[in-house]
């Protein structure tokens, strides 16, 4: 699969593109709720794309960290009446710590064994949620999460527009964080691990430590997305921690192309809009997603982002030959 490109500048034109997209989405899309959903999944897909594109790790566990973020935020807001911002931060930290701990274990294995370990962790998380039903509500989830003020003392987050505003800020910060890391020396080491793990190790880098750090960071981003999912929805449905959520995030990042941080946003946007538009026309639209996924794996390895980049290259070349 495709990788984050080397030598990405920070910030570049895609940072501006994401900012513009975040500002215009609520006006372009039919509802603010749809825009919010899109942005939540954009953050979550970013976590998957970061692992896959930077370190070459395919994780079936990102749904787990998304779910942990969602549940921790839900429990803090509903049972402990926290303010929004501290709840979101603690939820993201909880997901980050869990990812760090599980990462310490998971990086002991490589390849398919790594994938299967993340899958086992994801399933354990789901069944642990069912087993702890006095805290998590079991199959009912956590309902009636109040819309708390941003910080205690302030007024409540009034209406979906305010929630979207918060979401857009969080998404932009998460995007800049990943983009900054991608352009940093730390990012170069991660890329070298992706290209050739043995060589990175021979150069003296502690490959496992780098992988754990990347896994924890991806957990932080996924947890942030999960927490924002709770804020925007006002309840925690149990499907946030199901294996199917992990799969959905993988699909989004693959469709986007994992070729750059902004590709994850593109993939999530495509998926959420397809779901919204097609589900009313044809309830089995997921079948199309399946065909699309197969097509991308076989024919268009760089996903939508790669396709768009190739198209813009060709247009530019065409202009040069004409001029």
């Amino acid at each position: 699969m495709s990788a984050f490109r080397e030598g990405g500048r920070f910030p570049d034109w895609s940072s501006a593109g994401v900012a513009v997209a975040l500002l215009t989405l609520p006006f372009v899309l039919p509802t603010v709720t749809l825009a919010s959903e899109l942005v939540v999944f954009a953050i979550a897909a970013l976590s998957c794309a970061f692992l896959l594109g930077m370190v070459g790790l395919l994780s079936f566990g990102q749904g787990l960290f998304f779910g942990i973020g969602a549940y921790v935020a839900g429990i803090l807001l509903e049972q402990h009446h926290w303010a929004t911002l501290p709840a979101v931060l603690l939820a993201a930290v909880a997901a980050c710590l869990t990812a760090g701990l599980l990462g310490l274990l998971a990086v002991r294995q490589r390849g398919v064994y790594f994938v299967m370990l993340t899958l086992a962790f994801a399933q354990m998380g789901y069944f642990a949620m069912l087993a702890l039903k006095q805290h998590t509500g079991g199959e009912n989830g956590i309902t009636g999460v109040p819309r708390a003020p941003l910080l205690s003392g302030l007024g409540p987050l009034a209406g979906p527009e305010a929630v979207y505003g918060l979401l857009a800020v969080v998404a932009f910060l998460a995007f800049l964080l990943v983009q900054r890391i991608s352009a940093s020396p730390f990012g170069s080491v991660l890329r070298s691990i992706r290209e050739n793990e043995g060589r990175a190790e021979a150069l003296g880098y502690d490959v496992r430590a780098y992988k754990v750090a990347a896994f924890a960071l991806a957990g932080l981003v996924a947890g942030l997305a999960g927490a924002m999912h709770t804020i925007f929805l006002g309840f925690v449905p149990p499907n946030v921690i199901e294996l199917e959520m992990s799969e959905r995030l993988i699909i989004m990042s693959i469709i986007g192309g994992a070729g750059a941080p902004a590709a994850a946003f593109l993939g999530a946007g495509f998926y959420v809009l397809m779901a919204d538009w097609l589900s009313t026309l044809w309830p089995r639209w997921l079948m199309l997603i399946g065909f699309m996924l197969a097509g991308i794996v076989l024919l268009m390895r760089d996903g939508l982002w790669g396709g768009a980049a190739a198209l813009s290259r060709r247009l530019r070349m065409g202009r040069q030959t004409r001029g």
Binding site: Q109, V112, M116, A120, Q123, L130, M287
Partner: protein, 287 residues
Amino acid sequence: MSGQLLVFQVLNGIGIGMIYFLLSVGLTMIFGLMRFVNFAHGALYLVAAYAAYVVSQLTGTMLWALIAGPLVAAALAVVAERLLLRHTYAMPHEAQILITFAVALIVQESVILIFDPLAKNVPVPAFLSGIVFIGPFVYPAYRLAVVAVAAAVALLLWLVLERTRFGAILRAGSESSEMVSLLGIDVHRVFLAAFALGGALAGLAGALAAPLRGVEPFMGLEALGIAFVVVVVGGIGSFSGALLGGLLIGVVQSVMSSLWPEGARLMIYGAMALVLLTRPAGLMGRA
């Protein structure tokens, strides 16, 4: 839990475990052969279970599904392999995981499209609907028949693997596919055959399971998870490991389900993670 109930749950677990074994054999086989992780394996089980539903609707009994189910599943496996999967053999394993995952998604959505998302009942064949007395214990006749059928198939499979040329190639291939191809055997054709055989066995598992648990479109995903656990615990690529793993998971799940139902699944996935971390070759695998 009373002794009577415990024995009943263990017997039940053996029945379920035999189904898990049939389900997992194909997954472990193709992994052993080509390090190929097949996320579409649950879809083979799914289509065969729906074949059992259709057969029982048409003929009034699901008996013919014991042939139709494996055939449908094997056909699906071969078509998927020829059309899509074989193009990914030279690609990194992520590509193989994603393409089989796409196949699973397409099959699942097709099933919902043809039928509907609701769970359906498949009646037990009339002559097996009673109970049998085993000493002081009563046991449903159908579950006993499942154990018998699965045991017979397991024996047959063992004979094929140990006594035929094809079996020898399969076993040698799962040890070292490079060596087998150096000996002049077309590994890709062996792989296709293994795919069809594994598909047929998963199909038999699906057909046998249909009267026990009913059919619904998401049973494939659930079966895939279980099959991964069985394969990992037993040892990836090991046939006897799949039998041991299947029985172990079946019995643990069955006994735990009357003690702590939510904990049963947590435990088996915990076991999967533990084996992957400490003994990735599995209980029966060579370290």
